[in-house]
Assembly symmetry: C2
Homo-oligomer: 299 residues x 2
Amino acid sequence: MTTSRPSTLEALRAEVEPALDRALPTESAWPETIHRAVRYSLFAGGKRIRPVLALAAGEAVGGGREEIMPLACAVEMIHTYSLVHDDLPAMDDDDLRRGKPTCHKVFGEAVAILAGDALLTRAFHLLAAMPPDWDETRIRRRVQATAVLGEACGTTGLIGGQVMDLESEGRAIDAGSLETLHRAKTGALLSACVRGGAILGGAGEASLALLARYSAAIGLAFQVVDDILDTTEGAEQLGKTAGKDEAAGKATYVSLHGLEGAREMAAALREEALDALGPLGPRGERLAEIARLIVDRHS
Amino acid sequence: MTTSRPSTLEALRAEVEPALDRALPTESAWPETIHRAVRYSLFAGGKRIRPVLALAAGEAVGGGREEIMPLACAVEMIHTYSLVHDDLPAMDDDDLRRGKPTCHKVFGEAVAILAGDALLTRAFHLLAAMPPDWDETRIRRRVQATAVLGEACGTTGLIGGQVMDLESEGRAIDAGSLETLHRAKTGALLSACVRGGAILGGAGEASLALLARYSAAIGLAFQVVDDILDTTEGAEQLGKTAGKDEAAGKATYVSLHGLEGAREMAAALREEALDALGPLGPRGERLAEIARLIVDRHS
């Protein structure tokens, strides 16, 4: 029965790389500059948590890879676009990302802005490019997952969170506002990975409700752990400038609850996520593994 | 029989404004800053050529407004996003657009980058948000039109053209390269308006081929006339900095062919566009009017 076991996270991750490669024009495609910049940022060594999450959510409800992989690629492109734009001098002004110079440091600001635009555009283009022989059910699911992603990336999700983040710099911010900010900036896209993957896999309402609880918990846990690592790890481990939030006067879960309080919060969110997965049984095992990975990671 | 006459361009344009308004969160929606910036740029007095083109193309093949209006809104959002990003200090560094301070002048660079991102995201979100009672045919057409738009806005279209434009500054560029540049930067999106509108209207292959000829001609004509106006009109007429291309050492149709040569080229392209519309008969009349408008405009 070993062949029917769900894919390991490593196996899922290994499938994402060639799929991303196929989803983009080659480096030598015209105009080369933009394709080099897009590939530089997309293949900079990301952990692929979002695509793996989408694939695992789809698998948990019995979906096939062909339906879900374009979403997996799209969410990683969108995540990367948001990093490229957030790193710009006009935004967070970061020089390092995943241990390498940021896109604008290598290609200049103009090309970095366009590389972000290109990744965002390609993500939605990819989702609209369906095989002509697909039946109505598959098309409807893809459209529904695209709408979920569009909402998550918009002004009440990813973009709204970044605006709020910029506006909160150097200001006192309470725990409620910090949670609103991160639910938009980090949580919305992570939730869309899970919900979108599940929709593509054909999930019913009951499974979607369980997975919504799961993704809300891991979304918040992700940010709490980010804040903990920003305090405890150096630039070498993080691959980006460390202690930056504190220097910028940004409120974090550590500044609000202390290091120990933040660690307790992360552990409680992990348990909440695992609890939500309970009714899915063994099929939820990959998602459980991701929840543990998010909370116990060191970079 | 007056009720069966096709809509006038003014009537089409008047329908676009409230549709765009409905397609965006209000100014007071959270977070306000981004919604104010998005609306500032989207309602800055654009001529709405792209949405009107999409509506007229759909009408020319017998399509209904409900199917086509979301595309009309999406193309105007995408056009506006491209202007907001092109105007940034790292790109063309423009202070004026349509006679008003550019987005980054009013809201700052960070918010302007995010406002462009938000318009691009909202455009694709809008196209994915279909009424649940739509039948398979309508859904398939919408998906197909979205894929056409995605291609047009990507690295071989809108974004590729902007990269090529940045790279060609201050360099000698021949007529062939200039045409490649503008077919990507301006032509691809204009073509997608026509092709997308026609697909949504249920056009057959024969009509699509005619409209492809039409849109290739008006796309190029649009840029030739832009170059003519940049030479002959002042900032007041244009609502943006005049003579900027010349100052930046950019090749234009005027610098390549002279003012008279450029005018002859624009007129020939107008005739090519009208010729392509011939077989459509009276139903192509609005598209013909747009071709004349593009060539004979003064700003």
